[in-house]
C-alpha cells in the first residue's frame, strides 16, 4: 500500500464525522454520463456466450442466486420448501450446484435455518423495516438483532431514502453504521432502492455512502417498487465498488435484485461484471442475484445443455 492510498483511506474514514464533509465529498464525485452509461450497458448485453462458456456461466449464476421470497403470504412450509430447493435446485441432477443464499423476512429465518444447518448455503434476512425503511431507528436495529439471533448470517438492510433524498447524508450514514454494529458478524448488504433515487448521480453517491459506512455489499432494489435492477444502474454501482477498492483497498460486493428473470439477462450481468470490475468479483462471495423465477430458467437452460432437448416449466417446482 502506498503512502497516498493510506492517507486517502484515513481521510475517507473521517468523512462520516460531519454532514458538511460528507456532502462535499459525495457532491464532489464525478457525475455519471447518462447516455454513455446506458450505451455501455446495452453494448455489454450483446456479447455472445455459447457452449462450454455458457455452461460455466449458468453454473456460476446458480451459485450466485439469492433465492428470495418476500411475501406477506409466506408460511413456514413455503420457506422450508424454498430452502430445500436452495440446497438441491435440480433433484434430477446431482452435479447441479447449490444456490448462494436464501433470502426471507426475519420471522421466517428460524424455519429456513433448520433446513440449511450444516450446509454452505447462506441465510439472508431483510431487516430495518423492509421495504420502506420508514420506522424509528430503535425498531430497525431491533429488527436486525432479531434476525441475526434467529440465525441469519447476512442482513439485507434498506437505506433511509427519505433522508437521502432530503440531503441528510449523515443520518443515512449513521443508520448504516448502527445497523452494521447491530448485525455483528453477519454480512451487511445495503439496499439503495435505485428505482426511488431518480438519477445515476444519486446512485453513485448512495453507493459510496453505503461503502463508506461499512456495507459489505451494495444491492440495487427491494423488488417492491416498479423499477428494479437495470443494467445501467448496476454498471454505475460496479464502477463505484471498483473505484472504492482502488481508493481504500477494501472490496465490496454487488447484488442486483428484481426483474432479472432469464438466463440471458443473468449472463449479460456476468459479462458486465467481468468487463467492469474483473474476475475478482465473479464469485458468489462478491456478486449475487436477488431473484426467484430466475433459478427455474437457469435450470431449464442447464437441462438443455446437458440433455440437448428444451425443457419446460412443468418439470421444475413452482415457488
Amino acid at each position: 500500500m502506498t503512502a497516498t492510498t493510506t492517507s486517502a483511506r484515513s481521510e475517507l474514514s473521517e468523512l462520516g464525522r460531519s454532514e458538511t464533509a460528507l456532502r462535499t465529498f459525495l457532491h464532489g464525485l464525478p457525475g455519471v454520463d447518462q447516455v454513455g452509461a446506458e450505451q455501455r450497458a446495452a453494448q455489454l448485453g450483446t456479447r455472445s456466450i455459447k457452449t462450454t462458456a455458457k455452461a460455466q456461466a449458468i453454473d456460476l449464476a446458480i451459485r450466485m442466486v439469492d433465492l428470495t421470497t418476500l411475501e406477506g403470504a409466506d408460511t413456514p412450509g413455503k420457506v422450508r420448501a424454498l430452502a430445500a430447493k436452495a440446497l438441491r435446485p435440480d433433484p434430477a441432477d446431482p452435479s447441479c450446484p447449490h444456490v448462494g443464499a436464501v433470502c426471507v423476512y426475519p420471522a421466517m429465518v428460524p424455519y429456513v435455518a433448520e433446513v440449511l444447518r450444516g450446509s454452505a448455503v447462506h441465510l439472508a434476512s431483510v431487516a430495518t423495516a423492509f421495504p420502506s425503511g420508514q420506522a424509528p431507528l430503535e425498531i430497525k436495529l431491533a429488527d436486525t438483532r432479531a434476525a441475526v439471533a434467529a440465525g441469519a448470517d447476512e442482513i439485507d438492510m434498506v437505506i433511509n431514502r427519505g433522508a437521502f433524498l432530503a440531503g441528510r447524508y449523515k443520518e443515512v450514514y449513521d443508520e448504516i453504521v448502527a445497523t452494521k454494529e447491530a448485525s455483528g458478524d453477519a454480512h451487511l448488504k445495503v439496499i439503495l432502492e435505485t428505482g426511488e433515487l431518480a438519477t445515476y448521480d444519486n446512485v453513485r453517491r448512495a453507493s459510496w455512502l453505503a461503502m463508506l459506512a461499512g456495507g459489505d455489499f451494495i444491492k440495487t432494489s427491494t423488488g417492491k417498487v416498479p423499477i428494479a435492477a437495470t443494467m445501467p444502474v448496476s454498471l454505475v454501482m460496479l464502477e463505484a465498488v471498483r473505484d472504492f477498492r482502488e481508493a481504500t483497498g477494501r472490496q465490496v460486493g454487488v447484488k442486483p435484485a428484481g426483474g432479472i428473470k432469464t438466463t440471458k439477462d443473468a449472463i449479460k450481468y456476468l459479462v458486465m461484471v467481468n468487463e467492469t470490475v474483473g474476475p475478482d468479483w465473479l464469485d458468489p462471495d462478491w456478486f449475487r442475484f436477488g431473484a426467484s423465477s430466475l433459478l427455474n430458467d437457469l435450470l431449464m437452460q442447464r437441462t438443455k445443455l446437458t440433455t440437448g432437448t428444451y425443457s419446460g416449466p412443468d418439470y421444475f417446482t413452482l415457488d
Partner: protein
C-alpha cells in the same frame, strides 16, 4: 418527378403475434422471395409464446373462440386477391375460407358432441368434458399451400390449443400471408406461431421439446424422419398424429378426427342427493 420504386416485401416469421426475422439472421430464396430460415432457437421462442397464450385461449369461452375464428375467415376472404397473386388458385382460397368457417362453427359444439353425461352404477352425476391438450406442434403439408395449412391449423386451435407450425418449405409465402390475416383478426398473439424454413431443422426441436404436448406429422413425407420424430416425441408422451399419406384428400369434408385427436377428456363425479 422520378418514377416510383415499388416497396418489396420481407417475409418473416410469426411468433407471439409479432413478425420477427430469424434469430439466426438467415434467409433462403424460394418462390422468388427471401424468406426467413427459422433456427432451433426460433422454435424454442415460438413454444414459449405458444405456452404463454394457452391460458387465455383455452380459458376463453368456446363461443368467443368461434367468433374470433369467424372474424379470421372474414379477413381471409378479404385478402383473396393477395393469395391469388401468390399463385394459389381462386378455388383453393375459397375452399380454405369455407374450411375455416366449417371449423369455426365447431368451437361451441364440440363439447356437446364429444363430451356428455355418462350413466354410472351409483348415486353420481358423471360428466365428461373435452379439454385442449395444450401446445401443439404442427408440420404443415407441403401442398396445397393454403388449404392444407388451414386444414391443419384450424382443427388444432378450435378446441383451445395453441400451435407452432412448421410451414411448407417450398411454398411458405401463403403461410406468412395467412399469418398477416391472423394478426389482424383478434386472434390473441401466440395462439398461432408460424416458422418458415427447413423441416429437418425445426421439427426435431419441436418433437423433443418437453413443453410441447402434441405433434402433428401430417407434412412429414420422409418415413425415416417421421419415425425419428415419433421417437423424440415419446420422451414426454406427446400425442402424435401421423395420418397415412394416402388419406390426404383435402377437398373432402374432414370430420372431427383432427380436433378430437388433440383433446383430453376430463370426467367429473358429483354426488347426487336423494
Amino acid at each position: 418527378m422520378s418514377e416510383r420504386v415499388a416497396v418489396r416485401k420481407t417475409y418473416k416469421l410469426f411468433i407471439g403475434g409479432k413478425f420477427p426475422r430469424s434469430e439466426s439472421g438467415r434467409s433462403y430464396l424460394v418462390q422468388s422471395s427471401n424468406v426467413s430460415l427459422a433456427s432451433r432457437k426460433d422454435a424454442r421462442d415460438a413454444v414459449v409464446a405458444a405456452r404463454a397464450a394457452v391460458k387465455g385461449w383455452a380459458g376463453a369461452t368456446a363461443y368467443n373462440r368461434g367468433q374470433i375464428l369467424y372474424r379470421a375467415a372474414e379477413m381471409l376472404e378479404g385478402r383473396r386477391e393477395q393469395f391469388v397473386a401468390l399463385g394459389i388458385p381462386g378455388d383453393e382460397v375459397d375452399a380454405a375460407v369455407d374450411r375455416w368457417v366449417w371449423y369455426a362453427g365447431w368451437a361451441d359444439k364440440l363439447a356437446q358432441v364429444y363430451g356428455g353425461a355418462n350413466p354410472v352404477a351409483g348415486p353420481y352425476f358423471n360428466i365428461s368434458a373435452p379439454e385442449p391438450t395444450g401446445v401443439v406442434a404442427v408440420v404443415a403439408p407441403e401442398s396445397p399451400a393454403l388449404l392444407g395449412l388451414v386444414s391443419v391449423i384450424a382443427p388444432a386451435i378450435v378446441p383451445g390449443n395453441t400451435v407452432v407450425v412448421a410451414a411448407s418449405p417450398s411454398e411458405p409465402l401463403a403461410a406468412v400471408t395467412l399469418a398477416e390475416v391472423l394478426a389482424t383478426s383478434d386472434l390473441p398473439g401466440g395462439v398461432v406461431n408460424i416458422l418458415t424454413g427447413a423441416i429437418t431443422e425445426t421439427a426435431p426441436t419441436l418433437a423433443a421439446h418437453m413443453d410441447v404436448n402434441a405433434i402433428d406429422l401430417t407434412g412429414v413425407t420422409d418415413a425415416a424422419l417421421a419415425t425419428d420424430l415419433e421417437v423424440k416425441a415419446a420422451e414426454n408422451l406427446k400425442r402424435v398424429l401421423r395420418p397415412a399419406p394416402a388419406d390426404h384428400d383435402w377437398s373432402v369434408v374432414p370430420g372431427l378426427d383432427r380436433m378430437t385427436a388433440l383433446l383430453e377428456t376430463k370426467t367429473v363425479w358429483h354426488p347426487k342427493g336423494v
